[in-house]
């Protein structure tokens, strides 16, 4: 019986490792390709590790593009859209969780349904508005758009966390004379800090990886790392190794952030999933 349980555990462990390796393999392959020459990158059979590793691709990428400008734009846009999103979403989620009305659920579903619309459907109107308001290729413009795009997810996540908080705690605070501001700042936010942290992380990752709006609404000044990667694809010519180097540089910051915060991220995403 004990043996069977142990074997089962080992089996699950092996399966988990296999799935993890499968998911990590493309990233591994990209990183390895970034250290190959262009000829080695396309040679068949391909080599799992570079036979003659080179930093040439990274040198070229740094020479040809201002990586740090793109990276800075990504940081500003992802953090900015997340913070702006929280400012709107915390009060919205608070209202929906603690003083729900009969329209709360339809409103939540409607908010989520906006994510089902293909973004290209609203590209032209948004482009025209941006043109008229002088927001094309500005960090502010892209930050606002990404905030709006991710707002339904932020509201939903926060709503789920807030609903888990017993109303009695907030009521006690109110009975002790706490105002709305104090109730939110001193009671609600500290209790749901874990949930807010994972919401922030997820939103930063989504904003960091977003490419549709970044490519369409920016050209040079506000272009983030997704535009930086796009500039290394080529219609005529082999740029796999350089493209891999650019992609590695683009995902490195968010990969490291995800690595260090994976506990919070997993906890936050599974919060409330099991009761």
């Amino acid at each position: 019986m004990v043996n069977q349980a142990r074997w089962q555990r080992v089996g699950w462990g092996v399966a988990a490792w296999l799935v993890a390796l499968l998911m990590f393999f493309p990233i591994y392959w990209m990183i390895m390709t970034s250290f190959k020459t262009e000829a080695a990158a396309v040679s068949t059979p391909p080599s799992i590790v570079p036979m003659e590793p080179t930093l040439q691709n990274y040198e070229t990428v740094f020479e040809q593009s201002d990586y740090f400008r793109f990276a800075w734009n990504s940081v500003v846009i992802s953090l900015g859209s997340t913070m702006l999103g929280l400012l709107v979403a915390v009060p919205a989620a608070w209202a929906m969780a603690f003083i729900p009305s009969k329209r709360t659920k339809p409103t939540l579903l409607w908010m989520l349904s906006t994510k089902m619309l293909p973004p290209v459907g609203v590209l032209v109107p948004i482009y025209l508005l941006f043109r008229d308001w002088g927001l094309l290729d500005t960090l502010f413009g892209l930050t606002v758009v990404l905030m709006l795009m991710n707002l339904p997810i932020i509201v939903w996540m926060l709503y789920t966390y807030f609903r888990e908080i017993p109303k009695d705690i907030l009521e006690s605070a109110r009975m002790e004379g706490a105002g709305l501001w104090q109730e939110v700042v001193y009671i609600l936010l500290p209790i749901s800090l874990g949930g807010i942290a994972s919401t922030v992380l997820l939103n930063v990752i989504l904003a960091w990886n977003e490419s549709f709006w970044s490519l369409n609404l920016t050209s040079s000044d506000a272009a983030p790392l997704t535009a930086f990667i796009a500039s290394y694809t080529s219609p005529e010519g082999l740029f796999w190794a350089k493209l891999s180097a650019a992609s590695t540089l683009a995902i490195a910051p968010i990969l490291i952030l995800g690595w260090f915060s994976q506990k919070q991220l997993v906890r936050g995403m599974t919060f409330g999933a099991v009761k």
Binding site: V42, L215, S220, A230, S234, L238
Partner: protein, 439 residues
């Protein structure tokens, strides 16, 4: 006045002058695709900024499809985000007709007469130039001389598709990872549809008759597409329906293809020892033909155009003139060797003995470009301009849809008969919706 105050005054004056100087500099934004020639231009552009100290360049490098979509969107809505843009032979006449591009006006020293005629005409609308060619290309046959020698074969200078078929049969050795021929199979108007268009032309077919009725269910299309599917399906690499220019380039450069018919711009890449394992073994011939040579070689040029929405037309014109000038060609040669000079645009380059020596494929490229006739590319009369495309705005959609059908035939999921019937129907529907006819 105290020393401190005087110093502050001088600093303020200097700052004011600095601000004044910055305010005078005009910044132009250039949108371009990413390939070796364009990257070279970007790297050498500091020479332009030295020459024109009052102009600063800002670059936006995008992939081809995104660039096309961004630029179209920007011009159509008057966004004015770009001052110079890299566009192709397909877009120029269509956009010029819509008034989206500024007409170009060059000084005598630019020497418009030195531009290759087919390229210049391809970038003109009603006789006026609306884009300046940065590089030009046609199609050619690249083949492995060593494999031909081993098999005791030779390649005619001007082969037919039959010649290619016979040689592909003999050189196809999949067990040794060697495939008879590599051709574009990836769906797309600029991918498989481009190559098949040239094949259809040379098999005597055309996309439309003089009444704009699609001709995809005619015998010429059947012969051409059946031949293409048979040749590439039986003697090409596995998964050929996913291979575009870059995939075939890596296959050929890695020594997997005995022959490759594609853009002449590939010649410089497959003979570059830094990226090709077969650099010393490659030989060249003209692109194959069938019943006619008409339309068997395509014509394409990546060119610099100025959108009518630009606020800085003078600075943009100066940059376009510089980047497509003889002076720029000499600059590339001086910095990176004659072999890397942008090909396919100027007669003087092909007359230059240094270039001829550095690029042994030069005469074949010139012959192919000179032979291309976008205004007369089909055996039977047709109402459109273009060899591997039809110069109407509907063609992007039509070409891509037909390209998807061709890929289905190549992968074996549909018969040639089925795909051509379906392509005929969908093309007719598109043309009808666009108002070319009522029934």
């Amino acid at each position: 006045m105290s020393y401190g105050k005087r110093l502050a005054g001088v600093a303020a004056l200097a700052l004011g002058l600095g601000v004044g100087a910055t305010a005078q500099a005009v910044e132009i934004t250039i949108a371009t695709v990413n390939n070796a020639d364009m990257i070279r231009m970007k790297n050498l552009s500091d020479q332009f900024e030295k020459k024109y100290a009052d102009i600063e360049l800002d670059w936006v490098v995008l992939n081809e499809n995104t660039l096309r979509q961004r630029v179209t969107q920007d011009i159509a809505t008057g966004g004015g985000q770009f001052d110079v843009m890299m566009i192709g032979t397909y877009e120029v006449p269509i956009w010029a007709e819509k008034g989206w591009l500024n007409e170009l006006d060059f000084s005598d020293s630019y020497d418009v007469g030195d531009l290759l005629d087919p390229i210049r005409k391809g970038l003109s609308y009603e006789g006026d130039m609306y884009a300046a060619p940065f590089y030009g290309e046609s199609t050619m046959t690249m083949y492995r001389q060593d494999l031909f020698d081993e098999a005791g074969l030779s390649m005619p200078a001007n082969p037919t598709w039959g010649d290619i078929y016979e040689r592909a049969q003999q050189l196809h050795k999949p067990d040794d990872d060697q495939f008879g021929v590599c051709l574009r199979g990836k769906p797309g108007w600029g991918q498989n549809a481009a190559l098949v268009s040239t094949m259809v032309n040379s098999f005597g077919g055309r996309w439309f008759d003089m009444d704009w009725q699609p001709q995809l269910d005619t015998a010429a299309w059947h012969h051409a597409v059946s031949f293409y599917v048979d040749l590439l399906g039986n003697y090409g690499p596995p998964g050929a329906s996913s291979n575009g220019f870059n995939e075939n380039l890596s296959l050929f450069s890695g020594g997997k293809c005995a022959m490759w018919v594609d853009a002449t711009v590939a010649a410089g890449m497959v003979t570059d020892p830094e990226s090709s394992q077969v650099a010393d073994e490659v030989a060249f011939a003209q692109a194959p033909h069938a019943v006619t040579e008409k339309g068997s070689k395509w014509l394409w040029s990546w060119a610099l155009g100025i959108p009518s929405s630009t606020q800085k037309p003078e600075a943009a014109q100066k940059f376009v003139a510089w980047a497509t000038s003889k002076e720029y060609t000499r600059l590339v040669a001086q910095k990176e060797g004659w072999r890397n000079a942008p090909p396919g645009t100027r007669k003087s380059l092909y007359q230059n003995p240094k270039y001829q020596k550095a690029a042994p494929f030069a005469d074949k490229v010139l012959d192919a470009i000179q032979a291309a006739r976008p205004q007369d590319s089909t055996l039977k009369e047709s109402p459109y301009v273009g060899v591997q495309f039809v110069g109407i705005s509907e063609f992007q959609g039509i070409g891509t849809s037909v390209g998807q059908q061709l890929a289905a035939a190549l992968s074996g999921s549909k018969s040639v008969e089925q795909v051509l019937k379906s392509a005929q129907r969908s093309t007719k529907r598109t043309m009808k919706r666009s108002g070319y006819y009522d029934n």
